[in-house]
Every structure is written in structure tokens, then in C-alpha cells.
């Protein structure tokens, strides 16, 4: 088990470097630069800028420097926000994204698991059809539509909640917007997983032993039924913590998603690379956590 974890952690390093390389290539082959504006810069100024940022060196040297900086975890200062380092920017914005993401995750799990389990127990009932239709709707409505609709209803018509502000009441709408699609997906996965398990032979055995339905469900059915949910929620949590561009933009949250989109628009190369490195490691760590949790959930899985 321990050697499995160590091996997987070590594997994260080359994977992250590969992701960084691809990102760097993409940024470089896109036309333009962070200093290209509507007006052409005088040749002398352009020369100076290139020299300052090492852009006059051959590409393989630039690539080498970039890789070395990545390995050290030092991406230098942002090109746009020159007074701040990339790391400072990431650590300043990440908590906002993480709080919204974690709350959305908890909400999605609470709604999704409850709805999914009840729907599976009362298959083909009104609740089943109702909740699964709602889930289908939740999956189909993109969050850039749902967000503004919620703002329209709860802020502009009902005056219940602020459309954007970093406060307890202000984060309600973004959390709901963000969790909707995950809640819908978890509900459907839970229902499908539970239905499959509830039909299985060992549930019939449990009932034949005279156990009551509560014990059958909690002791015998839930573990097997939730495995597909776990494999989804691990990477989903990573994605939620990382912040989402659309929701943060709609509700003006100063999170990671927001500075990421700014960085891309500004062609802020160090910031782009820093965020990509951070996110890729985050996602890989969460995937590892999911794989480890399988081992606890399913005794048939062992790691060597």
C-alpha cells in the first residue's frame, strides 16, 4: 500500500511536467505576445522587453529555464501584476475558490445521495420520476444560464440575496449554481449504482436471513452502490476546488478561475503556467485519493 502511494506520488512529477510543456507550447504557438497591443511598439523598446524576459534566447534555453523554474516551484512574478509573484496570486485566490467549491461539493453530495438512494428504493414512483427529471434538467442547463437566472429571480425580483458579494448571503447563489450539475450527476449515479446492487443475489440473501430493510440497505447495499459515485466525486472535488471560470465570473468571486481567465486573456505566461501546474497536481492527488479509498470500500481491491 505504502509503496503504491509513493510510486503514484512520484509519477505525478513527470505527468505535471508533461502538462506544463504542452501548455507552454500552446501559449507560444498562439500568435501575439503579452506586450502586443493595438499599436506596434518601437523596435528598440521591443528589444528591451525581450531582453528583460529572456525572450531573445534560443527556444530550447527558454524552455529549459521554464522547466527548471517549474521544478523549483518558482514561477517568478506575474507579467500583468508585476508586484506580485505567481505563487502569491495563486495562494490569495485559491481560498475563495476552495470555500465555494467545498460548500458546493457538500451540497451536491447531500442532495445527490439522498435523492439517488430514495429514487432507487422507490423505483418508478413519482419521486423517482420527479427527481430524475430534475436531475436531467440540472445536467442540461449550463451554469452560465443557471447563474444569471438565479440572480434574476432571487436578487432582482425577490430582493432576497445579493447578486455578488463575498459574504455569507452572497455565496449562496454561486454555491447553488456550482453544485447543481454535480448534484444531478451524483443523483443519477447513486440511483443506478443502488439499483444494480439492490437487484443482486447477496441482497436477496440478506433479506432471506430475516434482516429488516434498514439493515439490508445500510449494511449490505450502500457500500457496493456507492462505488461508482466515489470514482466520480474524487476528480469532481478537485475540479470544484480549482474554481470555475464561469461561476466566478458571473458572481465576481476573486478566485482561481477568475485570475486564470485573466491570465489567459493577458497572455500572462508565468501565471498561466503556475495555475496549470497547481491544478494538474491537485487533480492528480485527488485521483490518487480516490484510488486509495477504493481499497477501503472494496476488499477485493488490494494495492501492491
Amino acid at each position: 500500500m505504502l509503496s503504491f502511494i509513493i510510486r503514484r506520488l512520484l509519477l505525478i512529477i513527470p505527468m505535471a511536467l508533461l502538462v506544463i510543456t504542452l501548455t507552454w507550447v500552446l501559449v507560444r504557438i498562439a500568435p501575439g505576445n503579452f506586450y502586443t497591443g493595438e499599436k506596434k511598439l518601437p523596435a528598440a523598446i521591443e528589444e528591451n522587453i525581450k531582453k528583460k524576459y529572456g525572450l531573445d534566447k534560443p527556444w530550447y534555453q527558454q524552455y529549459g529555464i521554464m522547466l527548471w523554474n517549474t521544478v523549483r516551484g518558482d514561477f517568478g512574478n506575474s507579467l500583468k501584476y508585476e508586484r506580485e509573484t505567481v505563487n502569491e496570486l495563486i495562494w490569495r485566490s485559491f481560498p475563495y475558490s476552495a470555500i465555494i467549491g467545498l460548500l458546493a461539493y457538500i451540497l451536491a453530495l447531500a442532495i445527490g445521495l439522498t435523492a439517488g438512494i430514495i429514487a432507487s428504493l422507490k423505483q418508478n414512483s413519482g419521486f423517482d420520476y420527479g427527481s430524475m427529471s430534475l436531475a436531467m434538467l440540472g445536467l442540461s442547463v449550463p451554469n452560465f444560464v443557471l447563474g444569471p437566472i438565479l440572480v434574476l429571480i432571487f436578487s432582482l425580483w425577490l430582493y432576497w440575496l445579493p447578486p455578488a458579494r463575498w459574504s455569507l448571503s452572497g455565496i449562496i447563489l454561486p454555491v447553488i449554481t456550482l453544485s447543481a450539475i454535480y448534484a444531478a450527476y451524483i443523483a443519477r449515479l447513486t440511483r443506478a449504482g443502488m439499483l444494480e446492487v439492490l437487484r443482486s443475489d447477496y441482497i436477496r440473501t440478506a433479506r432471506a436471513k430475516g434482516l429488516d430493510e434498514k439493515t439490508v440497505l445500510l449494511r449490505h447495499a450502500v457500500r457496493g452502490g456507492l462505488i461508482p459515485v466515489v470514482s466520480f466525486t474524487g476528480p469532481a472535488l478537485a475540479g470544484l476546488l480549482a474554481g470555475t471560470v464561469v461561476v466566478e465570473k458571473v458572481f465576481a468571486i476573486p478566485g482561481l478561475g477568475n485570475i486564470f481567465i485573466q491570465a489567459v486573456l493577458n497572455r500572462d505566461e508565468p501565471l498561466i503556467l503556475g495555475i496549470v501546474a497547481f491544478l494538474s497536481i491537485l487533480i492528480m492527488v485527488f485521483n490518487l485519493l480516490v484510488d486509495i479509498s477504493y481499497g477501503f470500500l472494496d476488499p477485493r481491491i488490494r494495492y501492491e
Binding site: 432471506a208 436471513k209 430475516g210 457500500r223 477485493r300
Partner: protein
């Protein structure tokens, strides 16, 4: 209480139907049988003949919907099982009637240790403490012949072989010393040598504990040495019912004769092609008006296709569902005398 007269289970005109998109499937349609204390009854039939549904009905384990017991009586030790509340049924399940299922690979919960699965039965029904339940579980595992039971008890099902898993199932089923054990194709998923061991184990435990047994199988070879009485089922109905010896010696139903002929007999028929009953079992959602076996029957006549056959009493213990039951019986007797 109804007078039992040494009868542990009496099923009378049981009807279990399933509501499907294709119409009503009469999985079990008017089954009647009786089981005396300490007796072993064999229920034989092809897949889909209603053997398992009959026994799941006895345990009230039919998934509802789509299934429903629509008629008949199930009297277990004087108790009318159909009239019990679900809580009272649960007090019978696993304690007084226990069940072993076909596939030991899927019938044990793969996520729970054997100990958990064994102990929860006696803790529930016998009020055992954790320690008592564990001790009892180890004792049961030893009884069914699991070596090193003290250590194996904390293993998971996937750490056992198929035969061992079926032994664990049997230990689980017998741990509350039930009055009736229903074994639903207990050896179908096992290889032949293990089959014999498991059957021997059931037989041995039945004799030691005085349990009555219903043995469901599609394999006539399995019931031959195990049972006192056999019911042959087809399309949800009892086609023939007789003491085991009599059924094998002088069957009174063409379907039973077909089944017996399909058992390989290498001593006498070496090199010959194995007999098989032509055709497939009928779709029980759309049964013809006549005998459900008529289409596949060698001796079917016009009356078989138009009129539902009578349940003919050959003698006190032997009856057969066939227009020509007496004739078939006479033929069997004649064939017997020739040998």
C-alpha cells in the same frame, strides 16, 4: 393454529404472477404440495418452470411489484404465511426457514467479512452477544467442514473457493437450526466433485439436525439419491408428483419420461446421440388453451391442444397432469417388467 399432523409445510393452489410489459406471466399457477417433518422434497424442472418462484413465495421474497402472490395458501407449521405482517415474516426468515442459493459467488456479500455475515443472523434471531455469535459462527464453519475456521472467519468471500463459499452459505443457513431448509440449485454453479461433497454435506446435516429440506434442481441425478418425494414442474404447474423411487421407475407423464431419457446413461447408450426433448419451454405469458407441453410432446393428440389436461391420481401418492396419464403409466410399468 391449524392442525399440522406432522406436516411442516403445506402449499395449496399457490399462484404467483408477474406483471410485465408482455402481459401477466403466471410463473407459478396452482401449485400444491406437502412436506412432512424430516422429509426431503425434490422440485425438478427446466429453467423458468417456476421452481424458484414457488420457494421465494414461501419466504415471501417475491419482489413486489412486479410479482404478487395472487392466490392459494402457504401453511408453515400451522402458520398461514400469507397472512403474516412483514415483520412477522422476518422472524421466520433465516430462523425457521433458511435458504441456500444457486450461485455462492454472488450470494455472499463481497464487501463484508464472513464473520459479519454469519454473526448477524444469530445476533438477530437468537439474541447472541458479539462473543457468542462469533463462537457459534466458528462452530458452524467447523460443522460444514471449513478447515482453520478460527482464522478463516475474518476472511472475505473472494478469499474462498466456490465450494467453500457454498459451505459458508450452508453454515449461515443452518446457524439458527431452522426447521426447513430450502436449497435452490445448491450445486448448479459448482464442479462435479464439489457437487457430490456439498450434497453429501446437506444430507448429513439434515439427518443430524432433523431439518426438512426442499431441494430445487434441474438435475434429476441430484434428486435421485437425496429425496423421498419429487415434484416435476413445467410452465408454472405441477406435472407429476410421486415418491422418488416410483417416479424414476414408472413415470406417468410424457414430460417426466422425456427428462429421464435426457439423462446420459453411458453404460447402455455409448456412442448413441443423447436424447433431448424437442423445442423450448413455452412463453408463460401466452399459454395455449390446451396442455402447455403439447407442442413438444411425442404422443400429443388433438385433445391435448384444445383441452387443459386433468390432474390424474394414479395411486395414493402418485399423480400426473396429462390426458393420457393412466396409459403412460401402464407403458412405464410394461417397460419396467421387460427389463
Amino acid at each position: 393454529m391449524i392442525e399440522t399432523n406432522g406436516t411442516i409445510l403445506s402449499v395449496n393452489d399457490l399462484k404467483t404472477y408477474f406483471q410485465t410489459e408482455d402481459g401477466v406471466v403466471k410463473a407459478v399457477d396452482g401449485i400444491t404440495f406437502e412436506l412432512k417433518k424430516g422429509e426431503t422434497l425434490g422440485i425438478v424442472g427446466e429453467s423458468g418452470s417456476g421452481k424458484s418462484v414457488t420457494n421465494l413465495s414461501v419466504m415471501r421474497l417475491i419482489p413486489e411489484p412486479p410479482g404478487k402472490i395472487v392466490g392459494g395458501d402457504i401453511i408453515f407449521n400451522g402458520i398461514d404465511v400469507r397472512k403474516l405482517s412483514i415483520d412477522d415474516v422476518r422472524k421466520i426468515r433465516g430462523k425457521r426457514i433458511a435458504m441456500i442459493f444457486q450461485d455462492p459467488m454472488t450470494s455472499l456479500n463481497p464487501f463484508l467479512k464472513i464473520s459479519t455475515q454469519l454473526m448477524e443472523v444469530t445476533r438477530l434471531h437468537l439474541g447472541h452477544t458479539k462473543e457468542q455469535a462469533r463462537e457459534h459462527a466458528i462452530k458452524m464453519l467447523k460443522t460444514v467442514g471449513i478447515p482453520d475456521a478460527e482464522n478463516r472467519i475474518d476472511n472475505y468471500p473472494h478469499e474462498f473457493s466456490g465450494g467453500m463459499r457454498q459451505r459458508v452459505m450452508i453454515a449461515m443457513a443452518l446457524s439458527c437450526d431452522p426447521e426447513l431448509l430450502i436449497a435452490d440449485e445448491p450445486t448448479t454453479a459448482l464442479d462435479v466433485t464439489i457437487q457430490a461433497q456439498i450434497l453429501e454435506l446437506i444430507k448429513d446435516l439434515k439427518e443430524r439436525m432433523g431439518t426438512s429440506v426442499i431441494l430445487i434442481t434441474h438435475d434429476l441425478g441430484v434428486v435421485a439419491g437425496m429425496t423421498e418425494k419429487i415434484i416435476v414442474m413445467y410452465a408454472g404447474k405441477v406435472f407429476e408428483q410421486a415418491p422418488t423411487k416410483e417416479l424414476f421407475a414408472t413415470p406417468a407423464n410424457p414430460y417426466t419420461k422425456g427428462l429421464l431419457k435426457s439423462v446420459p446413461d453411458p453404460a447402455h447408450e455409448q456412442g448413441k446421440e443423447l436424447y433431448q426433448i424437442p423445442g423450448l419451454p413455452p412463453d408463460v405469458a401466452h399459454l395455449p388453451p390446451g396442455c402447455p407441453f403439447a407442442e413438444r410432446c411425442e404422443r400429443a393428440e388433438a385433445i391435448c391442444r384444445s383441452q387443459y389436461p386433468p390432474f390424474v391420481q394414479i395411486n395414493e401418492n402418485h399423480s400426473s397432469l396429462c390426458h393420457f396419464a393412466k396409459e403412460v403409466y401402464a407403458e412405464s410399468v410394461a417397460e419396467r417388467e421387460k427389463l
